[in-house]
Subunit: 330 residues, 2 copies
């Protein structure tokens, strides 16, 4: 048999459903012993309120939707950690989903309608305009590292250009000249901006940029490293647009008998937890994605509380110089 509803409780307790609702939601205006009676009847019946129905009538779900390119993986897992911590602290539930590509993304987003009070979207490679077209404009939406949008949404933007530039500076300062950049996929905002920062810095130093295109996956780091090994005049530094590609390359270089950083320096981007465990520890740019995630939840909550927020907040990554570029020290 189906589950007990508020009506069943009301009948069993000989009161109206309104009284049950008030008693169970602690609305004060119920006689103390009646309240207890209702509570015990509810417990006896194993009554559990139907939160779906509840949020329909309250027009409030107490949940926020989160849309990430991936749910797993070191980087997004970190983002999730921050989001989860903050949401939990605020008593908000999370409706999580990954993109699974553009098509599936809009479908998922439609699903969120009526189930969440606000949205956090991280989509470096999908035009959020298209995504949001399927959603009520009234739904507060925080964007993280998304392509430009015309609508006034609160946003987080990572200063990829400056960060990539800084990494090149670091490599040049440690004597590298033939610095190759392994980029993320074309069309991805973060990837494009890192290429731009890299190229600008190289040019400024009179060095010629050389970009290999990857896809942010470990395997493309592996492939890039193998390609580099075949060169006659080998690069003396590889700067990958994320850590997983850098690590993939690191392994290949070492397996081929090169020593890192003596023969070739390797640097990544993101500072995923794994970065400090590989040998040698990976030099990278710390983005602090967990903090961004947490703050995104706070901003969403603030909007729900009535505040308005259309600010673009810039995040400046910090360099983490480790052994993979500065042999000797760690």
């Amino acid at each position: 048999m189906a589950h007990a509803t508020i009506r069943d409780v009301a009948r069993a307790a000989n009161v109206s459903i309104a009284t049950v609702s008030r008693a169970l939601n602690g609305h004060g205006n119920v006689r103390a012993n009646l309240r207890e009676h209702v509570q015990s009847v509810a417990a006896a019946l194993g009554y559990v309120p139907h939160t779906g129905a509840r949020s329909l009538s309250l027009a409030r779900t107490n949940a926020i939707g989160v849309m990430l390119p991936d749910l797993h993986g070191e980087f997004y897992s970190e983002a999730l950690r921050g989001i989860d911590a903050e949401a939990s602290a605020r008593g908000l539930q999370l409706l999580l989903s990954n993109m699974h590509g553009d098509q599936r993304g809009t479908e998922t987003l439609r699903f969120m309608r009526g189930r969440v009070d606000a949205l956090i979207i991280m989509a470096p490679d999908i035009d959020p305009e298209r995504l949001l077209a399927h959603l009520p404009a009234s739904l507060p939406t925080v964007l993280i590292s998304c392509p430009d949008v015309s609508a006034d949404h609160p946003q987080f933007r990572i200063d990829n250009v400056a960060a990539a530039d800084a990494m090149v500076e670091h490599l040049v300062a440690s004597g590298r000249r033939r610095i190759v950049h392994l980029s993320g996929p074309r069309g991805n905002r973060d990837a494009e901006e890192r290429i731009a920062g890299y190229s600008a810095a190289m040019t400024r130093h009179g060095l010629s940029p050389r970009v290999l295109t990857g896809d942010f996956e470990e395997e493309s780091g592996t492939a890039a490293a193998q390609a580099l090994l075949g060169d006659t005049e080998r690069a003396d530094a590889l700067f990958a647009a994320n850590d997983m590609m850098a690590i993939g390359a690191l392994v290949v270089f070492q397996r081929a008998g090169l020593s890192v950083p003596e023969d070739i320096a390797v640097a990544g981007f993101d500072d995923i937890p794994l970065a400090r465990f590989v040998t040698p520890a990976l030099t990278t740019m710390r983005v602090g994605i967990a903090e961004i995630g947490a703050e995104a939840v706070s901003r969403a909550a603030a909007i729900l509380a009535g505040e308005s927020d259309t600010e673009i907040r810039w995040v400046a990554p910090q360099i983490k110089a480790r052994a993979s570029t500065i042999g000797g020290a760690a």
Copy 2:
């Protein structure tokens, strides 16, 4: 202004809401051009169905709830990967939540009522009986590595006893005698069972078991390793109940000048992605948690489709012997 509802569409299209519903949900019995008219009006109004209301009237949410001890971290992130892949393939949405302790856990579970069609719970340290008390018995619930329950739920159980036993065999075979076990927290099912398997194997070989109690976090591995370093007759192998603790210990041993595995072998449990990246690569037991997650979704879906399933399915971890216990080879 609020978002358009089905009523707004009906009014604008000069039809009844029933017709709008039928037209938009592809119910065949609508004149072709009327259907198109409705669709275009809906599009013009930017109408997006309110899935919350929809599932209330359908008594079907198309979502499944997932409850994990943590959402981040290497192990649960892997579990999520499997769950997500399968759910996505079946067009199911995911409502994810972590436990945040017992109290918060039941609260979250109540939240799930009315929002999901089924539940997947992984809770090695919480009595699910207590958890499920707050939920309708009619909600299909798949349990992964939970303490025993009386109710007939489909379950996955990891054969931790046999796996821990096998790991001890491996270490003994490679000449180790003073094998210390660093366990997970007391009261955690997986932890207890691994202790049992370890102890049984040690005793069988006439070796004396020695168990240090950890908590599955990297720091407790660090601490345990430091404690071991102070011993007069040092252990020659450390078998940690999960990979993160093993890795924490690995780092400490090496930093103290010991070489692994020559001076001391180190083994973990889980085979998280990180395990193969540390130096030396970590010997561990592969649980295949992603596969379990995917299968859990399938079982939940099958139950929703009407099948009955109260089977306890056993999962046998596989040993992954790597350089941290068998120096030389990898």
